[in-house]
Amino acid sequence: MADNISRRERSGQVSLLAVFPDLEPAADAIDHLRTLGISDDQMNVISGIPVTEAMLGRPNQWTNVPRLAGGGAVLGFLGAVFLMYGVPYLYPYPIQVSTQAVIPGPPTVVVLFEITMLGMLLSTFLGVFLDSYFPNYRPMEYVKEVSDGKIAVFFICPEESREKFTKAMTALGAEKVEVAEVEHL
């Protein structure tokens, strides 16, 4: 815990945490931090409900999940194509069912659909893990009040301005402002 803080302190910066009871003061605080020279990439917001970027006036978050889902769907489709179109010819005696062709149309549609969907959903799930770096059990900046509905704004500011930022956040309704601590979650 102390290591993380001291590293920033050595560089003359400190990570502060301001806890707000509601969305409105948190959004005001973010606007005010910008006027004080803190850029968006020096801030992070954590919350117990999915607060959208628009609500807090924050830039849109990048996510790879839809792309990974699409990629998974393509991989699933290709796997199904191999299973249905390639594999029957790997065997000396392809299965003949009634009057159906060796590669029949309608059953192929069923297999293509199921494996494509499986590929898409698996990769969507894994996409959340990849994009969010899950599982992540390293010590991280966190405050438990977030679970109880508070909004926490983390930001990095110069060590010498700490007092100024603390006062500004308190004036905007922060319930507490303190040096952000990392903890094992």
Partner: protein, 488 residues
Amino acid sequence: MAGYNNNAVHKKVESAHPKAESHHHDEEHFREKHLMLDPLPRGQMNDMVMESMTTTSWKFWAVFGLLSVIVAVCLFYVWGYMISEGLGVTGKNRPSYWGLFLVNTVFWIGISHAGTFISAILRVFKAEFRRPFTRAAELMTTFGLVQAGFSVFMHLGRVWLFYWLLPYPNQRMLWPNLHSPLSWDLLAITTYLLSSTMYLFLPLIPDLAMARDKSTGWRKTFYKTLALGFRGTEGEWTHLRNAMNIFAFAIIPVMFSVHTIVSWDFAAATRPGWNSTIFGPYFVVGALHSGMGAVVMVLAVVRGTMKNMKYFIRPEHFDAIGKLMLIISMAWAYFFFNDYMVQWYGGDKWTKQLLHFHEAGPMGWMWFAMLIANIAIPWAVLWNPKWRSTPWIVFVVGLIINFGMYLERYIIVPVSLSINRMPFTWRLYYPRVEVLLGIGTLAFFIWLYMAASRLIPLIPVWEVEEGQMAHELKKFGRETVVSVSELE
């Protein structure tokens, strides 16, 4: 905590129109009725959910212990006995080689449909009443599919050779016949089981993080491990929201495909009573019919037995599900009659013989009981808003529907197989060890659910809070109405 305090913080609602006296009465009425208009502080809701998981009475352990014995004996011991003795100890014989195991498979897959229906379809259509019970329904999907898988494995007989179904290269040059609906079953059920489990887990992560922050000891370790280090950053929520939207849309066709493929196990056979083009949607609607009945039963039990659940699960939810049950019952009646009518009108000798056997044969009581349970009773009860808002009444209707739907599957499988084009083989099917194994799967389903209710937050608290943020009362003229904002 003795229970939830109905007069606690109602900041949003009170701030809307604090002066009007009549409006105040309206507000009280709305608060009492609608969870979304009766907000409590998030911390209090968290505590209520944690308390519901950690407060366990001796009655719980007594039922849990009894179920453990039933599962050990009826499921695992009897299954072991059947494996050692062979399928000869079952009632399966010529001409009914598909018996209770496949009835149970279809039944459990049907139960599993309601979870996705409630969670995904209602999420896509932004039906707000879904919020407190999506997880309770999703759990049913996963646990129902586990029982369906068990039932298929029982039917296999030599269960240790299940991997022969998988498409893997082998030196025997055998290859699963991917032209067969039975192979599609494996694909569809596997896809559905995996995707519904993932869909259960994703929205659970924030609640597991909440539970991690609120617990100590072994629970802390358990939730910490499962919460994966979730903090609730903007990025984490964005990834989660995107994934949940993709799942909600994509899992719906998967859900439809599963029971359609199960119906093709029958419909693809050129057999009277089975060879029907409408079997796919008929099975899907039947699955929803039994699944919704099961959801309402689970909710009534959870509400009645778990602490603080009366705050989260209210008569309004039974009312909403009751309406869905009524509509689905009508849809089931439509498909049933459509299927029946075309077969009856066709005039084929063997088909008419089978229809007559269904209605007037030795198992004819099942046919009439099925219609009474699936159509007459739901229609007679669920039209009434007061009745369908009463948990125990809807519980009984759900139970009756599930009885009726079980009979429907029984009629489709062993009863239909009892007669065929070779009268010298006609024979009624009488299940033997299958009955105990069926009881075992039912007990295991309840056992899993009871265990999960002590380990997993059954209420998605963050979804409830999000819904409460979106709802408010507005006044138009003299009328007070509920208004919902679209937050996403």
